[in-house]
């Protein structure tokens, strides 16, 4: 896995949107695996700082960083600093995303653009910023957080589904380009994970949804983090270009 005790440098794992939910769980898990975890947040400083503090208390290494993935300037500044201070980023988890649900026919341009620009644009910007270092060091792990929405086609989520679906295709294409350099690129597509992002769902919608989940429960961030952790190990070096659905077996 990682080798924090050897003379080799401590590898750096950057997780976007890590102040809460799935991103936070992934960040905490990668820190536990021995990476120095860089947890980025757009606005929820408290959440990110709490996560970083929890990591440190458990004996790990982490920092919370304010960086909006829709801001090229923020991304560049962060990547430059990590290049200078830690020789760059070894693991990148593109997790930052926002929801702006609504019927397509009534969707404002801003809703479409923001969702696409955060999940897909943010992935583009962040991955581009750290890729050169991974290629140079001939080791890297890119994990893109897609979604069940990329496959299930539910009404009211055309923008989100488009962005998350795009990540699946992007993953395959990028994996083909950088495999020769020891960099793997994969995506994880979580189903309904009980975090703040789905807190607005009504009881009826929840019950209805559960009927289509063989595992008969909502997922939690701890259902996602272990697999991401595995993808970032040495042992996963032959696994690339894939999208793995972690959705309780959702049928639909």
């Amino acid at each position: 896995m990682n080798s924090p005790n050897s003379s080799a440098r401590t590898r750096v794992a950057l997780v976007t949107g890590a102040s809460r939910g799935i991103g936070r769980a992934i960040g905490e898990r990668l820190a536990a695996d021995g990476f120095h975890a860089v947890l980025t947040y757009r606005a929820d400083a408290a959440g990110a700082e709490t996560a970083a503090a929890a990591v440190r208390e458990a004996g790990g290494s982490a920092e919370a960083v304010k960086a909006d993935v829709t801001s090229a300037a923020d991304i560049e500044a962060l990547a430059d600093r990590l290049d200078r201070e830690r020789e760059g980023v070894d693991v990148l988890v593109n997790n930052a995303a926002v929801l702006k649900n609504g019927l397509f026919a009534l969707m404002p341009d801003a809703s479409w653009n923001l969702v696409i620009d955060t999940a897909l644009g943010g992935t583009y910007r962040m991955t581009k910023a750290v890729m050169r270092g991974m290629l140079r060091r001939r080791w890297g792990r890119i994990v893109n957080i897609s979604s069940l929405a990329a496959f299930s086609g539910s009404a009211g989520q055309t923008n989100y589904s488009a962005a998350k679906g795009a990540l699946v295709a992007f993953t395959k294409s990028l994996a083909a380009e950088v495999g020769a350099f020891g960099v793997t690129v994969n995506a994880v597509a979580p189903g309904f994970i009980d975090t703040e992002m789905i807190s607005f769902l009504t009881k009826e919608v929840r019950e209805d949804f559960l009927k289509r989940v063989p595992v008969r429960r909502f997922g939690c961030p701890e259902d996602i983090a272990p697999f991401v952790s595995f993808l970032c190990t040495e042992g996963a070096g032959y696994l690339t270009g894939q999208t793995i659905r972690i959705d309780g077996g959702f049928v639909g």
């Binding site: 050169r132 020769a180 350099f181």
Partner: protein
């Protein structure tokens, strides 16, 4: 001096791409990429390697593809590019 740069570039190409050939046997004007006759027949993965090699050897960052395609057309093109960026 120009010859020295050419030599460095040819050695960089052979070293970075692990080619089994004598650097001096690379013609100055030979197309590095693609299937052209007399060319080296390098591909896009090799292109990435060269970008990294140029960065390491000359400290020059190739930021976008447009620049890269022109700069890497041949040994001569690459020498021109390095001289231009170093100026």
């Amino acid at each position: 001096m120009p010859d020295d740069l050419k030599k460095r570039v040819k050695e960089l190409i052979v070293r970075q791409l692990k080619l089994e050939m004598d650097p001096s046997s690379i013609a100055d004007e030979a197309p590095l990429f693609g299937d052209a006759d007399g060319g080296l027949g390098l591909d896009s993965i090799d292109a990435l390697e060269l970008v990294l090699g140029v960065e390491k050897e000359f400290g020059i960052k190739v930021q976008d593809e447009e620049v890269g395609v022109k700069a890497f057309a041949s040994v001569n093109a690459l020498c021109d590019f390095v001289r231009e960026k170093a100026a």
